[in-house]
């Protein structure tokens, strides 16, 4: 045994091992492994006549318990710590929320779940008309810095953009009186997918069908650069009509920026943030998470659904053991696991399903399916009896090329890293869908990884506040750091393209344009060097830039870019490729905006036909219906427009439920059209419905609501229901004056309302409204005319002009 070096953390009063103690140590070490006679003989020979040594060793041997499990006994102090911290936690929770409390406009009905960071309540709007139930997720105290709240708001907007029939929608959010944020989510009454399948003894094909819907939802999120990271049955509920709903998309990530700094440690720091049963090796090891992580967790879920078991049961395991198993042990062959669980079930899994599952459960993310899409694709192929892509077991576990992060890296760096990995994943997926790109891909990926690594490890922590980094800052930082890829133009353009996309999603169109314009320039020159004609990269960027231009109010240049993108994609991918179609869709919208209605019609019809054939029951279909409807309306073809709008609304309601902003918009559009066509009764009903839904969705302090009251009031007025109309006009004005007191709409509404009152011979009630209107806009002709009418009215009542 070597003498330890000078030990700075020990007390000054520390001792050193005496010679006598070292002898005790040396003898004990060996003796402890010997029994009875052998031990006695050993002690005789080693201690000789040193009675003190012998007595001491024998005494200690008495206290040593041979063969005892060393893994458990030292945990006492930790158990202590846990209990202490729990107690402290409860004290802090003194201000805890209870059922019956009101949170904003929601009343909490009962607690339905709790997790490490949050509690979930079933709630309904306190001012509810429909008694629509929602889930309110309250974040635990501690996450309450102003910067964090700001970021939550921002991220919430991004999450709110996730619209998918199989993803529980984020409806609203706010802050509790105690200052902690809460989220309002679509309430999904349902049961976890594993018990759902078990209880119904769902046959394999039905499980697959259900599971593929889940894949669709995850794919959708990945396309939007959001990784779930915590896919597990308890986050995957199946409703009574058999539709799966994915919960908590992105919320874990958004709410837990610390999760990023956690994953950077060399130890098990991330441990408590993951659900061990479904967590991937890279999560255990605190490495970079990519879409591959979701592929893995999906693989685990499917394994569980098909076999009834988990490949690595966690029960009774320490995390360290589980980690070792998850990171090193191959999962039992699904067919065998299924057979062991229930005789006869294994046969169907043997072969393709075994291979597919093992591929998804590869330890090395790079060896798994490159995307959820590919995983799903193989399952589709299996269902249709086609050969699947995995032919033989893949390569053994390879040393990971994934970035190992510095243990004290900061949040900012980690976020940048994550986003970049998403960029790369995205780019990779796209690349992989091209043929013979494998070699090129490997090279680029390596380079990108190096780049990511550098970015992650070198991000200057003092440059940004380490704790609070907004998405905006992260994207900005990516944009800036991207300069370093100067010598790698293709990659640089790819990152810029992605950054531009992100800016577009953040509605920062100027910033998006700056990035995308440069990316387009680079990609154009690259494609010229290669083949002369624009390639798919050029088309991608042109489409994205076209969108920025459109939102910046430059439809002409948007049209040129989108046309180019569409033509290029059509040439290279064919007319019926989803990418081509999505481009054509954007193009049709811009053309409509430009008033080039015939072209807009042709394009939106062609998109609609494609959707009808390929995605007949999807949000893409409702979009196509709505777009063509808008064109036909502009063309004055109201009957067809109405029909299209009706179809869109009906489908939207079915896919998204009545409480969705897209659905209320569709209802309002249809109602406006019906009103024009003279169908006021139905228009009124639809306006009323949209208004009620918007009140639930947004609360009363929202322009959608004030304007909804106005629309409804106008419709009621047309129907001659003046009293009801008056009430709604008042409400519209009251709310809108609070929300947007400067909005010129208010004057118009005042005048409209006054006009109605005058028509009903109620000049006294109209007078104050007109006064207000004229105070806001003294030259308003209608208001002046109404004043005159009222004046005349007043004089005639009083018996004519005085002489």
């Amino acid at each position: 045994m070597t003498e330890p070096k000078k030990d700075p953390i020990d007390d000054p009063a520390r001792g050193t091992a005496t010679e006598a103690w070292e002898r005790v140590d040396a003898v004990f070490r060996e003796a402890v492994h010997l029994d009875g006679e052998a031990r006695r003989e050993f002690l005789d020979s080693r201690c000789g006549d040193d009675g003190t040594l012998r007595r001491e060793v024998e005494s200690l041997l008495l206290w040593a318990r041979e063969g005892e499990d060393f893994t458990a006994w030292a945990l006492g102090p930790q158990r202590w710590m846990a209990a202490e911290l729990s107690a402290e936690f409860d004290r802090v929770q003194g201000t805890r929320l209870e059922s019956g409390d009101n949170l904003g406009s929601y009343q909490l009905l009962r607690e339905v779940g709790r997790g490490g960071m949050s509690r979930v309540f079933l709630a309904e709007r306190a001012d509810d008309q429909y008694h629509m139930q929602v889930a309110v997720k309250v974040i635990r105290p501690g996450l309450d810095s102003p910067e964090l709240l700001g970021r939550l708001r921002q991220e919430r907007q991004i999450l709110a953009g996730l619209n998918h029939p199989h993803i529980a929608h984020l409806l609203d959010g706010g802050t509790t009186p105690a200052g902690t944020p809460f989220f309002v989510l679509e309430y999904v009454p349902g049961e976890p997918i594993d018990t759902y399948c078990d209880d119904r003894r769902l046959p394999i094909d039905a499980c697959l069908e259900l599971f593929l819907k889940v894949c669709g939802a995850v794919q959708y999120a990945h396309r939007n650069l959001i990784i779930h990271r915590d896919l597990k049955p308890s986050n995957l509920l199946v409703t009574a009509d058999g539709e799966p709903k994915l919960l908590d998309f992105g919320i874990a990530k958004v709410l837990n920026p610390e999760a990023f700094s956690m994953t950077v440690s060399e130890t098990q720091l991330g441990a408590r943030l993951l659900t061990p049963e479904y967590a991937s090796p890279e999560q255990f090891q605190g490495q970079e998470l990519t879409t591959g992580t979701d592929v893995y967790s999906l693989g685990m879920i499917l394994y569980r659904l098909l076999t009834g078991r988990l490949p690595f049961p966690s029960e009774g395991q320490t995390l360290a053991t589980l980690e070792r198993v998850v990171c090193e042990a191959p999962p039992p062959l699904p067919s065998q696991a299924a057979e062991a669980n229930e005789a006869g079930r294994g046969r169907a899994l043997r072969g393709d399903l075994d291979r597919i599952l093992l591929k998804a459960l590869e330890k090395d993310p790079e060896a798994r399916y490159g995307s959820v899409e590919r995983f799903a694709d193989d399952l589709h192929r299996y269902r249709e009896g086609l050969p699947v892509s995995v032919r033989r077991p893949s390569l053994p576990y390879r040393a990971r090329r994934f970035v190992r992060r510095h243990r004290t890296a900061f949040t900012a760096a980690a976020v940048v890293g994550l986003l970049l990995v998403a960029v790369v994943a995205y780019y990779t997926v796209r690349l992989r869908s091209e043929r013979d790109a494998a070699q090129q891909l490997a090279e680029r990926l390596t380079r990108t990884m190096n780049f990511v690594e550098e970015m992650v490890t070198q991000a200057d922590p003092s440059a940004t506040n380490a704790q609070e980094v907004s998405v905006r800052e992260v994207v900005d930082q990516m944009a800036e750091r991207n300069e370093e890829l100067r010598d790698e133009p293709a990659l640089r353009a790819a990152v810029m393209n992605q950054v531009g996309r992100l800016y577009n999603r953040l509605a920062l169109y100027d910033e998006a344009e700056a990035q995308l314009a440069q990316a387009l320039e680079i990609r154009r020159s690259l494609s010229r060097q290669k083949s002369g004609a624009p390639d798919l990269d050029v088309a991608d960027t042109a489409k994205e830039l076209g969108n920025s231009h459109y939102y910046l109010g430059r439809p002409e240049s948007a049209e040129a870019l989108l046309t180019e993108a569409w033509r290029t994609r059509r040439r290279l991918l064919g007319e019926d490729d989803p990418l081509t179609v999505s481009c054509e869709n954007d193009l049709s919208v811009v053309l409509e905006n430009l008033g080039r209605l015939d072209e807009a019609e042709a394009h939106s019809r062609s998109v609609l036909e494609y959707r009808r054939a390929n995605d007949p029951d999807s949000l893409l279909m409702t979009e196509a219906l709505t777009n063509l409807g808008a064109v036909r309306w502009s063309q004055g073809k109201l009957e067809e427009a109405e029909d299209l709008y009706r179809q869109a609304l009906e489908m939207g309601r079915r896919l998204q439920g009545p409480l969705h902003r897209d659905v209320t918009t569709q209802a309002n559009n249809l109602a406006a059209l019906l009103s024009i066509r003279g169908n006021h009764t139905e228009a009124e009903a639809l306006f009323a419905e949209a208004l009620a839904a918007n009140r639930q969705l947004f609360g009363d302090q929202h322009p959608y609501v004030s304007r909804g009251f106005h629309r409804h009031a106008r419709e009621l007025r047309t129907l001659g229901r003046r009293q009801e109309a008056a009430a709604d006009y008042r409400e519209a004005l009251r709310l809108h004056q609070e929300i947007a007191p400067e909005d010129p709409r208010i004057t118009a509404w005042l005048v409209e309302f006054a006009e109605m009152l005058v028509e009903g011979d109620d000049c006294p009630a109209a007078a104050p409204l007109l006064e207000q209107a004229l105070a806001r806009s003294p030259e308003d002709a209608t208001a002046r005319a109404l004043v005159t009418t009222c004046f005349a009215d007043a004089t005639s009542r009083s018996g004519g002009f005085p002489p």
């Binding site: 700075p8 000054p12 009063a13 005790v24 004990f28 040593a64 490490g116 960071m117 004290t408």
Partner: protein
């Protein structure tokens, strides 16, 4: 609760450096910071019924330390990093126990052993166990600083035997033997003490 603002990393680094140079006062100042940090973290990490408390605690401990130290600390040596984390955690835990003990008023050391401690469901009942353990550990440290270090890593930083072995660059068996002896010695100490008090 005013714990949402961790102490500035620079300050912690300075204190750690002072401690490293042998300034025990620095440790006194560090302890409440770690303690606050732990509570802060606990507020949103604890109490997930589904995963084990113990593991969470270990992670918390590491995280608290990492966050306190931040990026500035010049930790070239993993050994120091973890040893300091373990020592700090011991201090924090002893602080818990002292407060508990003060609140309880009374009760000298009982006849305890490490195994008893393992099985104690509610530490609020027997904070003196931990205090007794702490004192015994200090005595062990005088006799054999290395074993103390190993034991602390195991008990307070939640390291596995293999991790400890890797850290010290010795075999698994060596660490196991160190722990066996340390534990035997401690059990005897605690037992004697308990008897002496009666």
């Amino acid at each position: 609760m005013d714990s949402s603002h961790p102490s500035p990393p620079g300050e912690v680094t300075r204190l750690l450096a002072r401690w490293q140079e042998g300034d025990q006062q620095a440790l006194e100042e560090l302890t409440p910071m770690v303690y606050r940090q732990l509570h802060h973290l606990a507020h949103y990490h604890m109490r997930d019924e589904r995963s084990g408390h113990l593991l969470q605690t270990t992670a918390l401990v590491h995280e608290a330390f990492l966050r306190l130290v931040g990026i500035e600390a010049p930790w070239q040596h993993r050994q120091h990093f973890y040893a300091m984390a373990a020592r700090l955690m011991r201090r924090v835990l002893v602080d818990f126990a002292r407060r508990r003990n003060a609140a309880k008023r009374g009760g000298g050391a009982l006849n305890v052993s490490l195994t008893d401690l393992d099985l104690t469901p509610d530490p609020a009942d027997q904070p003196e166990q931990l205090l007794a353990l702490d004192e015994a550990l200090t005595r062990l440290g005088r006799r054999d600083p290395r074993k103390l270090r190993i034991l602390e890593l195991r008990c307070f930083a939640g390291m596995t035997i293999q991790e400890t072995a890797d850290l010290f660059n010795v075999s698994h068996t060596t660490i196991e033997n160190d722990l066996r002896l340390a534990r035997a010695w401690l059990s005897r100490e605690l037992h004697r003490e308990g008897r002496g008090e009666r």
